[in-house]
């Protein structure tokens, strides 16, 4: 690895900008995530800034079970992000659908729609746990990440199949 590459990867570790999207959460996880921006937790302390435009962000913090209405928008946001990009599923809903799993207009977890790098169960998650999740994401090595990516891509295929089945039923 050249020195430049090393510098860049150091930058990536130290400056993750995040974008937040609520894909049908109950607000619980959202307010707890926003809490992590405020004085008591202050994630700017570890270099994290919240950005409004997907183009600027590195990490998509996604809460909530994906509802049918938000699904397209979620994919769109994910596609708009410049790589390298990561996704953290914050909250039980975002991991598997949680209590809303099985509702008629809920897809399930975020990984039914886009690949997820870190799962953070909790209902609602504490802001500390959000910081911890970002930490774990940045410190998991890159090989790990690609492996996970492939895995969740596979999951995606599977779930898409099952979705088709679902929509057939409907």
């Amino acid at each position: 690895m050249g020195i430049f590459k090393k510098l860049v990867s150091w930058g990536q570790k130290k400056s993750p900008w995040i974008i937040h999207f609520n894909a049908g959460a109950c607000n619980g996880c959202d307010i707890e995530f926003i809490d992590s921006l405020t004085p008591k937790y202050d994630i700017e302390r570890i270099g994290i800034l919240q950005h409004g435009s997907p183009r600027h962000a590195d990490i998509l913090i996604c809460t909530g079970a994906v509802t049918l209405q938000t699904r397209d928008r979620l994919i769109q946001i994910y596609e708009q992000m410049a790589s390298p990009k990561y996704v953290i599923a914050v909250g039980t809903c975002a991991c598997t659908g949680g209590i809303f799993n099985g509702c008629y207009c809920v897809m399930g977890g975020i990984d039914t729609t886009i690949p997820v790098d870190v799962y953070l169960p909790g209902c609602a998650v504490r802001p500390e746990a959000v910081i911890d999740a970002i930490d774990k994401l940045l410190n998991s090595n890159d090989k790990d990440k690609t492996k996970k990516k492939a895995k969740s891509d596979k999951q995606k295929e599977v779930s898409e199949e099952s979705n088709e089945e679902k929509s057939d039923e409907q």
Partner: protein
């Protein structure tokens, strides 16, 4: 900015937008910086909750109801629990009622502080946002100390509450409340004196007294328009019949008014919590509630931080509800939104939206029931329907010929309960 009317831009706001922490979409047509048309699209958060409630037991639903929304979760579960307790004919212990009131008021504190912060953020006053949320941490810590978790407290259960408050907790809470009281008084002073705040808040998102009535506004939005409507006062539930509650109103009818109402309500909440802690009756916190709820139906109302929250529960006698209907406060306030947005500046849109403290988690269609006599808690379906028809006819809308299909087994139950 030109006044050229051909120069109209249509901008979509949301569903993902930094001003909105939740998905909702506003399609705004702009003429220069002025909004000439607003189309509101909600339903992004529709999770089919009411349908899901019909397939779970009453106990399971308790937690689902709480997760209608993480911000006013307590108010929903109180409304749900007290409806079922009343259907089962269970009188819950006084201590439990007081604890419910304490948590409800703490929730109001956290919710209003949250609102204050978000509103400040919308108008770009990040310092105030940070301060308000810093102080909100204290409230969340109290809630966590009492209930276990910071959101979705899980303190209510059918027949009472799950966790008790001991003297130590009470002492700690009183200590924190003192600090909080100072902070909130400071915010009140700030809101009435800081010129940049007033410049951004006054005359924005106006909804006057008549319009507020017409659009069926509730909560601080209505109270800021001079409508003294507060379920805690007009139809006391839990321990509110014993606790002194002052209804705060204001006649500005704009965002500034809503800010003042909310900030003053926080001070009121603090004194309510103090009163409850001082007069906390001793005794049990839990009464036994059967798993199966007798057939019948019930409407229960609570005053959420954002206004009147209505739950309708219909039981067919099993351990699974036949139908649950939630009319949450934000939903009622959406109706006036278009009215508030049109003619305002683009820059004012976020704060105007934020001023009703919108949340999408619970927003849905509903029938607005307004009982001013203060006693009619129970409406049967027929009565409710007649009321609704009459209400609409009074306002020139005849929906009498719309037949509401009734399920077969429903009619049977109806007979049973009518007998």
């Amino acid at each position: 900015m030109s006044d050229n009317s051909s120069n109209r831009i249509v901008i979509p706001l949301g569903p993902q937008h930094p001003a909105l922490k939740e998905p909702g979409s506003f399609t705004l047509t702009l003429e220069g910086e002025k909004v000439v048309n607003a189309v509101i699209g909600i339903g992004y958060n529709h999770r089919g909750l009411e349908k899901a409630l019909e397939s779970r037991t009453y106990i399971q639903n308790l937690y689902m109801i709480e997760r209608i929304c993480g911000i006013c979760s307590h108010t929903h579960s109180v409304a749900y629990c007290q409806a079922i307790e009343e259907m089962c004919g269970v009188e819950i212990p006084m201590r439990a009622k007081y604890i419910r009131v304490i948590i409800a008021e703490l929730e109001r504190l956290h919710s209003h502080l949250l609102w204050l912060g978000v509103a400040a953020h919308e108008i770009g006053f990040d310092t105030l946002f940070m301060y308000a949320w810093r102080d909100r941490e204290m409230v969340l810590d109290m809630l966590a100390e009492l209930c276990g978790n910071r959101v979705n407290y899980g303190i209510n259960t059918l027949g009472g509450v799950r966790r008790d408050i001991d003297d130590n907790d009470a002492h700690e809470i009183k200590k924190i409340l003192r600090v909080l009281h100072n902070q909130i008084s400071y915010y009140l002073e700030l809101a009435t004196n800081e010129p940049t705040l007033i410049a951004r808040l006054a005359d924005v998102g106006k909804l006057n007294h008549d319009d507020a009535l017409k659009f069926g506004a509730v909560g601080p939005v209505a109270r800021a328009a001079g409508i003294a409507n507060d379920v805690r006062k007009i139809e006391p539930y839990a321990a509110y019949d014993e606790v002194p509650v002052n209804v705060i109103t204001d006649d500005h009818g704009d965002v500034l008014g809503r800010t003042l109402v909310r900030v003053k309500e926080m001070l009121e909440s603090i004194s309510i919590i103090r009163y409850c802690l001082d007069n906390l009756p001793a005794g049990e916190i839990l009464a036994k509630v059967p798993r199966k709820v007798p057939a019948g139906e019930m409407i229960s109302r609570t005053e959420a931080p954002r206004g009147e929250n209505i739950h309708y529960i219909n039981s067919d006698g099993s351990d699974i509800p036949y139908r649950i209907r939630v009319r949450a406060p934000s939903e009622a306030n959406w109706h006036g939104m278009k009215h508030m947005l049109e003619g305002s500046f683009l820059a004012d849109v976020p704060i105007a939206i934020a001023a009703i403290d919108p949340c999408y988690s619970c927003t849905d269609r509903a029938i607005f029931v307004n009982s001013d006599n203060g006693e009619s808690r129970l409406y049967d379906w027929k009565g409710l329907r007649e009321y609704s028809i009459k209400w609409h006819r009074d306002r020139g809308l005849n929906i009498a010929d719309i037949q509401i299909p009734m399920a077969k087994n429903y009619i049977q139950i109806q007979r049973k309960t009518n007998d």
